[in-house]
């Protein structure tokens, strides 16, 4: 009954005209950038962060969330028609989706991915709604000792499950924590690493860091990459959009399995859509009667992963909304957006800001309906957008970053800071270091320090306190096990395989 009351509250928030409008804008922009290769949700959200400053917090989050799951929808279109993933999470969709398109079944592939995504998204939204209260209640019993261990676990998991070198990723997390500590110390008021620059006194602005690391650095990296490779051409002949009866029978169980896998894996820190999609594809291949069909246009190979990545992208909100723990770079952006509005992401969001929390959840479902509506009939338009060349896109991205940052700070100096972070992020990419762990560390930085301090204060400087509380021990042991996993050869092999594909 509580759940229904809450959902009702959520829907009353979400169906207001403004919120509906921004939900629509969010999913449209999301689909758009999902379709466009070379422009991902993280870059887009970083770019639009300054704009959300001028919106109500609920509206801002509704729009940003829409961009995120909308991009998972759009990414599949590019994979199917272009054999080139529009988003990282739709890499596997290329395998069978593009083959279906070659066989003249592009319409069926697009339809099944839209329907699968819708079912995955709907089920996952319900799971978020149902699980959130219980987890938030549980987390509320935590003291700073458990909080510290929880954040350590979150950061370790994000590092281990992310792609790329673990050592580099740990270094990036530490650097992020460090950058998060720049500015005035919260408890003593001492200035740290400010170097007499007044802008740094309040700490490094999240928007400047995000636009630099994900906007400017991405543009730089893409420009370099693109100069070397040309543009592929899309398959224009979509074919009939419907599914045959046999195709329905094949894809329905795959959609359900994908939804379950995606919902479960999406909660894990650091994983997001890509891992869910891979796991689902592997499972479909295992349960299929004739595994040799995979890679040649098996419809289950599209239906499963597409449901999984969308379900995963919804449940990824659980750790953020209930524990204040962002699980991937996009969630770190959402946490940043909440902090811009003075909301500290933590378990208190559920109880103190019920309109925000339930409004966001209700909007996710509405957004999924909107996506289904705008995707199937409008597919022709999206195909045309595929052909927008990158040389028109990157000046747009740069300009939006510039004006956005300037509108927040009103100082040209901040543009130079953004440029600095951009060049830094690009150099990190060159050295094989992903910027995502850095942003996670940055978002959590001040809270990690605060909780560590408080825990130490209570325990009288005894570090063993972290091993004396059961919940804290569980988190730390899990973190340790994950680190151990990395050392095991079989696990590093499968990570390498994931990276290659």
């Amino acid at each position: 009954m509580d759940l229904i009351d809450n959902l009702w509250l959520g829907f009353t928030v979400a169906v207001s005209w403004v919120n509906l409008l921004f939900c629509l804008i969010g999913v449209l922009v999301g689909t758009l950038i999902g379709v466009l290769p070379g422009l991902g949700p993280v870059t887009t959200i970083a770019m639009l962060l300054p704009i959300t400053y001028y919106l109500e917090p609920v509206t801002a989050l509704i729009m940003l969330a829409g961009i995120f799951y909308g991009s998972q929808y759009g990414g599949s279109t590019t994979s199917i028609l272009l054999n080139m993933p529009g988003e990282a999470s739709s890499v596997v969709t290329c395998l069978d989706g593009h083959q279906m398109a070659r066989n003249g079944r592009a319409g069926a592939a697009l339809a099944v991915s839209a329907i699968g995504s819708f079912i995955g998204g709907t089920v996952a939204t319900l799971i978020v709604a149902g699980a959130a209260i219980y987890i938030a209640d549980f987390v509320k019993t935590f003291t700073s000792v458990e909080y510290f261990s929880l954040m350590v676990f979150g950061l370790v998991a994000a590092v281990v499950l992310a792609s790329g070198s673990v050592l580099n990723a740990i270094g990036m997390v530490l650097l992020g924590l460090f950058l998060g500590m720049v500015g005035t110390d919260l408890s003593t008021g001492a200035q740290r690493y400010v170097f007499g620059v007044p802008m740094l006194a309040d700490g490094i602005d999240f928007v400047i860091l995000a636009t630099g690391m994900f906007g400017v650095a991405e543009v730089l990296a893409n420009l370099e990459r693109r100069i070397r490779s040309g543009q592929p051409t899309a398959i224009r002949n979509v074919g009939r959009a419907g599914l045959t009866r046999a195709e329905w029978r094949q894809s329905a169980p795959a959609i359900w399995r994908g939804t379950l896998i995606g919902s479960a894996l999406g909660v894990l820190p650091g994983s997001g859509g890509m891992l869910s999609a891979f796991a689902s594809y592997t499972l479909e291949k295992k349960v299929a009667k004739d595994p040799s069909r995979f890679g040649k246009g098996a419809i289950e190979g599209v239906a499963g992963p597409e449901s999984a990545n969308n379900a995963g992208s919804q449940t990824a909100f659980i750790p953020l909304l209930t524990m204040g723990l962002p699980s991937n770079a996009t969630m770190a952006m959402m946490a940043g957006a909440m902090m811009i509005h003075g909301i500290v992401p933590s378990s208190k969001v559920v109880t103190d800001q019920p309109e925000l929390f339930w409004g966001l959840i209700a909007s996710m479902w509405i957004g999924n309906v909107l996506l289904l509506i705008i995707n199937l009939p409008l597919i022709g338009i999206w195909i045309r957008i595929l052909e927008v060349p990158y040389r028109l896109l990157y000046p747009t991205v740069l300009l939006l970053c510039c004006i956005g940052v300037y509108s927040l700070t009103n100082s040209p100096q901040s543009i130079l800071f953004m440029l600095g972070f951009g060049v830094m992020g690009w150099m990190f990419l060159k050295f094989g270091c992903e910027p995502a762990p850095l942003v996670l560390g940055f978002v959590l930085g001040s809270r990690v320090e605060e909780n560590l301090r408080r825990a130490m204060l209570v325990s009288g400087g005894d570090p063993w306190v972290f091993l004396q509380r059961p919940i804290s021990v569980v988190f730390l042991v899990c973190a340790g096990l994950l680190l151990l996993l990395v050392v095991l050869p079989s696990f590093s092999r499968s990570r390498a395989a994931l990276k290659e594909a």
């Binding site: 270094g171 924590l177 370099e224 300009l399 040209p412 543009i415 050295f431």
Partner: protein, 134 residues
């Protein structure tokens, strides 16, 4: 590289009182993190010596310089020339990165984007920008 950051952090942080673990001063946590970075840096170094490193991709100076110039132009002109002209200049400079120049396209894009920016930020969001030069 991480060693660099860690060492820099330790160096500049040495003036901050670390305090005891019980009552941490402002310098305690940064020092912890910086030592961590130094450690990771050493580990990365050791690994690269043991296994050898992947060569770093060639840098395209044109892209880097172009981006630096475009953002620099924006920072330099937004305060005096106003939003419209600064946007047009920034887009134009950014377009110079392309190896093949298409003057018509560049002109259209810079005018179009600057108009769109004007509409979005000034008319819809009502941010008090300076629009034209004084």
């Amino acid at each position: 590289m991480f060693i660099c950051f860690g060492a820099l952090g330790l160096w500049f942080g040495r003036g901050l009182a670390a305090g005891s673990a019980q009552e941490m001063g402002p310098g305690y946590a940064p020092a912890l993190v910086c030592w961590g970075m130094v450690l990771i840096g050493v580990a990365v170094l050791v690994r690269s010596v043991l296994r050898g490193t992947d060569p770093i991709d060639a840098v395209s100076p044109r892209a880097v310089l172009g981006i630096v110039a475009a953002l620099g132009v924006f920072a330099a002109t937004i305060g005096t020339l106003g939003l419209v002209l600064a946007s047009m200049l920034t887009v134009a400079v950014a377009c110079l990165i392309e190896p093949k120049l298409r003057w018509k396209e560049v002109a259209l894009l810079s005018v179009g984007l600057s108009a769109a920016a004007l509409a979005l930020f000034v008319f819809v969001l009502r941010i008090p920008f300076r629009i034209w030069p004084i």
